[in-house]
Symmetry: D2
Subunit: 145 residues, 4 copies
Amino acid sequence: MENNTSNTTSLQVRVLYVDTDKMGVVHHAAYLRWFEASRAKYMRLRGANYAAVEEIGIQLPVVEAHLTYHKPARYDDVLTIRAWVGDLGRLQVKFDYKISMGEDILVAGYTRHASINLDGRLTRLPSKVSEALAAPEKETGEAMV
Amino acid sequence: MENNTSNTTSLQVRVLYVDTDKMGVVHHAAYLRWFEASRAKYMRLRGANYAAVEEIGIQLPVVEAHLTYHKPARYDDVLTIRAWVGDLGRLQVKFDYKISMGEDILVAGYTRHASINLDGRLTRLPSKVSEALAAPEKETGEAMV
Amino acid sequence: MENNTSNTTSLQVRVLYVDTDKMGVVHHAAYLRWFEASRAKYMRLRGANYAAVEEIGIQLPVVEAHLTYHKPARYDDVLTIRAWVGDLGRLQVKFDYKISMGEDILVAGYTRHASINLDGRLTRLPSKVSEALAAPEKETGEAMV
Amino acid sequence: MENNTSNTTSLQVRVLYVDTDKMGVVHHAAYLRWFEASRAKYMRLRGANYAAVEEIGIQLPVVEAHLTYHKPARYDDVLTIRAWVGDLGRLQVKFDYKISMGEDILVAGYTRHASINLDGRLTRLPSKVSEALAAPEKETGEAMV
C-alpha cells in the first residue's frame, strides 16, 4: 500500500453539504464516492475509460473495500484524492487511495475488483486493459472533471 | 394534492446519521428516498410491485419532482410517509406524499412519472397497472419493510 | 426562470456509477447534489462562500425544490450545470438551474432558501450577502473544484 | 468475526431503486447505510440508543470500515442484516455485520468506532454504554423501523 510511486492519479473535490452529517464532518460513506471518482480518472487518463471497458464486455465490480479514517474532513474543504494500482492480477485489480488536505492524510483505503464478463463469470482481464492499468498517466490535456 | 382520502399507504422510517447534514437536520435530498420507499410500498400493496411492472416492459421514470420543507426532521426521528395517487392519466401517474411526525407535517411533495416502454417511448399504462394504482390497499399481512 | 442572463455560474461534473440506477441512467435524486455544487460555486465566485455565510450566523436551508427531467443523463457523461439567482427577497433567495449536455437540456429546476439565524428564525439577509448574490461573477482564477 | 453467537440483532430492508446502479445490482456504497441501520437498532434494543449516547457527550465515529462482497443484491430484494459486537475495548468498539438473503451471505463486514468526547478526544466508554453494548437484546416490542 505504498504510494511513493510516481504512477498515481490525483483528483480534487470540494466537500458539499450533502457529504456531511450532524457531527459536522464528512459521513464515512461519502469517501467511497471519491474513491470511485479518482479510480475512474486513473483509468480514463490511461486510455481505459471504464465506460469503454464495459463496452468490450468486462465489468469490474467491487469485491472488497477497506477504509481507515484518520482525521475528519469538513464542509467546503478541498480534498486531494490520489489513486494507484496496488495489485494487478489476471482476474482482479486492487486500487489504493489516499485522501489528504495539505499535509494531512485524512482517509486511506483500497477497493478490490473482480474481472467478470457479461454473464457475471470471472474472466481474464484483457491485455489492453491490464496494460492500461499498469501504464503511466498520459498527457491528455483533458478537462479536470 | 388533498390527502383526506382513505386510499393512502403509510410507511415508517427512522432517520439515520447518513441522512443528516452539518445543520443537524435531515438533508433536503434525503426525502426523495423516502418518497420512493412509500411509492414502492403503495404499488406493492395493490398488486403492482414495481419490479413486476418492469418485467412486463413498463418503466415509470420520474419526470417531475416537487418538495416543500416545512419543518426539519432530526436524527433518530421516526417519520411517517403517506403516499397516494394524486393524478392518473393514460400516459403518466402522479404520486403525492406527506411526511409527518406526530401532528406535524414536515415535508410535502409529489413526483410525476411517465409510462415508457423498453425503447424509452411513451406508452399507455397497461390496464392492470392502472387498475392497481387506483385500487385500495390490499390486506396482505406483508412484513413492513 | 429565464437564463439568457450573463449572470450565471457554470460547473462541469462527470457522472459516476454511484449516480446511476438499474434503469442505466442517472437516478432522479442525484441531480440535487449537482444543484448544490453549482449553487455553492455561484456564491463562492461572488465572495459569499456559504461556509463564510454560516460563520456570520446565517443559514439558507432549502424550503422548496422543484425538478423537471427532460432527458436522461448516463454514466460517464460530462454535464454542465448553470446556476443563477432567479429571485432575491429580503428573507429568501431562489436559485434556478439548468443541467445540459451539448445542446440538450436534461434537467431544469430551482431551490428556494429561507434566510434563518442560528435560532432557526427567519431573518433578513445581510446586505453583504444580498449584494454578493446579485453581483456578477468575479474573476478569481480559482481552481474549478 | 464469528456470528454463531445468539447476541445479534437483525433488521430487514427492501432494496430501493436509489440503491442500485447501472450494473443492475446494489451499489457497493449502499451497504454502509444498512450497516448503520442495524448498528443503531442493536444499540437501541439494548438501551443505548445512539442519540442518547450523544446526549451524554460521547460520540462513536467510524475509524475503520471493511466490506467483502460475495453476491450481488438486486432491486426489491428483502435483505436481512445481522449486527453484533465483535470486539469491545475501553476506547473503542467493533461491530460485525452479515447481510444475507435466504441462505446466501451477500456481504460481510465490520466497522470500528472510537469513543470520543465533545472535544474530539479519545475517552473511555462510559460503563453504562459498555454494559449495554455487551448485553443481550431486550424484549421491547418496539416497532421494526
